[in-house]
């Protein structure tokens, strides 16, 4: 291949992703004396949670001091941790005695963007997958108009770029993340016309113990609510944006009340004049590398496909460890703990160094508390299937291939598709550049609904399997084959 590390011995760990989970894993392993390759697509460490520009003072970030400590850890152990920034991983495979990770360095050095630059192959004894998650989307009429953003996209623009996505903004979807996004926008001077929470998050009150143990997070939520109140931003539950309007860009939104199944309450529709809509319905873990490696997956409580970890954060494939959202969306605090645990066990596997049992016990205890909180969140913010009621036949469901809801239905009704795989082959949803990352959940729901069930694991897998995780030049693929 084009490049290889100066030291030809395999790394003890290849940690993929440099968000909270990956950073914690890399620094923990480095501190334990292991040799680590930290492979990350971003130009700087931090992932989505600590996304920042050069020279950022962290004012907009939570737990910035934790990030600074981890970043310092990368420096302190620089002799053992190789941080490969700007490297997009497109494939990971098992080798005789470990794993081989294929990455592309972005063409413009550390300026990010798309990799058609140098190829990089990383051999390692173990792999820690810390690939994170992105906003889950539900399609609705008009959602392809410029000015409709994911909630995470609006947040990335604000926190990572210092740019407001628009002036008159409607925030909609489900989950506590919407509050953080809306509060940030209001503080920075945008007019937030409302936060429309499709769910009715009252289930939390049923978990007093969980609530008591997670006071910090709830205080964070209360802080966001106070900010919204101060800026007179309405917060409406069981309502959401069911249509976006405009010709070349968004000029308005229809918000409506929803019943318990998320069907529109007839007559409740109301038009708002806005230039921007920020939407997100929870998160989808990035699991394609786990699927490439053959790790077992399951449908998490909220219907998202996640890789399945054991108590040591090991996947069902020996040597492949999981940390952070890839094994269930639970937030940064949980990701940090999982990263540490995954690293301690991966180091044990790679080098034989036995982790301190007291440290492991402490981490396991903290993980249990965080997992309880995550489960309570799932229960508070479910995604029922009535959202399909919002679609028109002509609503684009797959943004890349411009496949409509009608075309998906036809693939089943007229062409005889009975599962997501067949629908994908007949109508092409999920076949574009994003490879079903955006539409996968929605397509699985549409297929399930036709056969009287929810989105099932097989349908989700059919739309989440990506043999090549990132677009790569054909020449790179060809060279990889020649090498074998």
């Amino acid at each position: 291949m084009a490049t290889s590390p100066a030291d030809s011995r395999p790394y003890d760990l290849a940690v993929i992703g440099a968000g909270p989970a990956g950073l914690a894993a890399a620094v923990t392993a480095g501190a334990a004396g292991a040799r680590v390759a930290l492979v990350d697509a971003g130009p700087r460490p931090g992932g989505q949670y600590w996304r920042h520009r050069r020279g950022d003072n962290g004012a907009l970030h939570h737990e910035w001091s934790t990030f600074q400590r981890l970043r310092q850890g990368l420096t302190d152990h620089a002799d053992r941790i190789d941080h490969l920034a700007g490297h997009s991983v497109w494939h990971v495979e098992r080798t005789g005695d470990g794993f081989r990770t294929y990455a592309l360095h972005s063409a413009g050095g550390d300026r990010g963007g798309d990799g058609d630059g140098a190829e990089r192959v990383v051999d390692s004894r173990t792999v820690v997958l810390a690939t994170g998650a992105y906003d889950r989307q539900l399609p609705f009429p008009g959602w392809t108009l410029p000015g409709v953003f994911t909630a995470g996209g609006v947040q990335a623009l604000l926190k990572g770029q210092g740019v407001l996505a628009g002036r008159r903004i409607v925030v909609a979807g489900t989950g506590p993340f919407l509050l953080a996004v809306a509060a940030g926008l209001a503080q920075r001077g945008a007019t937030v016309l409302g936060v429309y929470e499709a769910g009715r998050p009252t289930a939390f009150a049923r978990h007093p113990v969980v609530v008591a143990r997670n006071g910090v997070k709830l205080a964070e939520g209360a802080e966001y609510l106070a900010t919204l109140l101060r800026h007179r931003v309405p917060y409406r539950t069981r309502s959401t944006v069911v249509a976006a309007h405009g010709t070349d860009e968004v000029t308005g939104a229809t918000v409506a009340r929803l019943d318990a199944e998320w069907r529109i309450v007839p007559g409740s529709e109301r038009r708002l004049d806005c230039d921007t809509i920020a939407v997100g319905y929870g998160f989808t873990p990035q699991i394609e590398l786990a699927l490439q490696l053959g790790c077992d997956t399951w449908s998490d409580f909220d219907g998202a496909l996640t890789a399945f970890p054991d108590s040591r954060q090991c996947s069902t494939v020996p040597g492949v460890y999981l940390a952070g959202e890839v094994c269930g969306v639970g937030g940064a605090a949980l990701s940090l703990i999982e990263g540490e645990l995954a690293a301690l066990h991966a180091v044990h596997t790679a080098t034989g160094a036995v982790p301190d049992p007291a440290a492991v016990r402490r981490l396991v205890r903290r993980r249990r508390a965080q997992l309880l909180f995550a489960d309570a969140l799932y229960e508070a913010y479910p995604v029922p299937l009535g959202w399909m009621d919002w679609l028109d036949p002509g609503t684009v469901v797959c943004r890349c291939e411009e496949v409509t809801a009608e075309a998906v239905t036809e693939a089943m009704a007229d062409l005889g598709a009975t599962d997501a795989r067949a629908v994908k082959l007949y109508a092409r949803p999920g076949m574009g550049l994003c490879q079903g990352r955006v539409c996968g959940y929605a397509i699985a729901c549409l297929v399930g609904a036709r056969f009287g069930r929810g989105p099932n694991v097989d349908d989700l897998r059919a739309l989440a399997g990506r043999p090549v995780a990132q677009p790569v030049p054909l020449g790179t693929l060809a060279r990889t084959v020649e090498d074998e």
Partner: protein, 94 residues
């Protein structure tokens, strides 16, 4: 908003101001642009959607290379950024 030194790049026939470290997509949004691509089939306008490199909606041509994700690629002084039509491979059509 806070940021480092500012500089300029070209977007079609327009001069865009960017701050050091800003992505091309962010600088375009800050300059009031919402779309910089038309889709292959419908010719519909698209701009930034996910903002983190997942959706590939924000593709743009940078210095002659099509299909760059504007949300990820940092702007550089003197970049020549162009609206992308369809797959951005008009040069290959016959």
């Amino acid at each position: 908003m806070s940021g480092g030194a500012s500089f300029e790049f070209r977007f079609d026939d327009e001069t865009i101001h960017a701050e050091e470290g800003q992505s091309i997509g962010a600088a375009l949004i800050a300059a009031g642009h919402r779309s910089w691509r038309s889709t292959r089939i419908e010719g519909a306008p698209r701009g930034l959607f996910c903002g983190i490199g997942v959706c590939f909606d924000c593709l743009v041509t940078v210095n002659g290379r099509p299909n760059r994700r504007a949300c990820l690629m940092e702007a550089m002084p003197g970049d020549q950024v162009r609206t992308q039509e369809g797959a951005g491979r008009g040069d290959l059509s016959c």
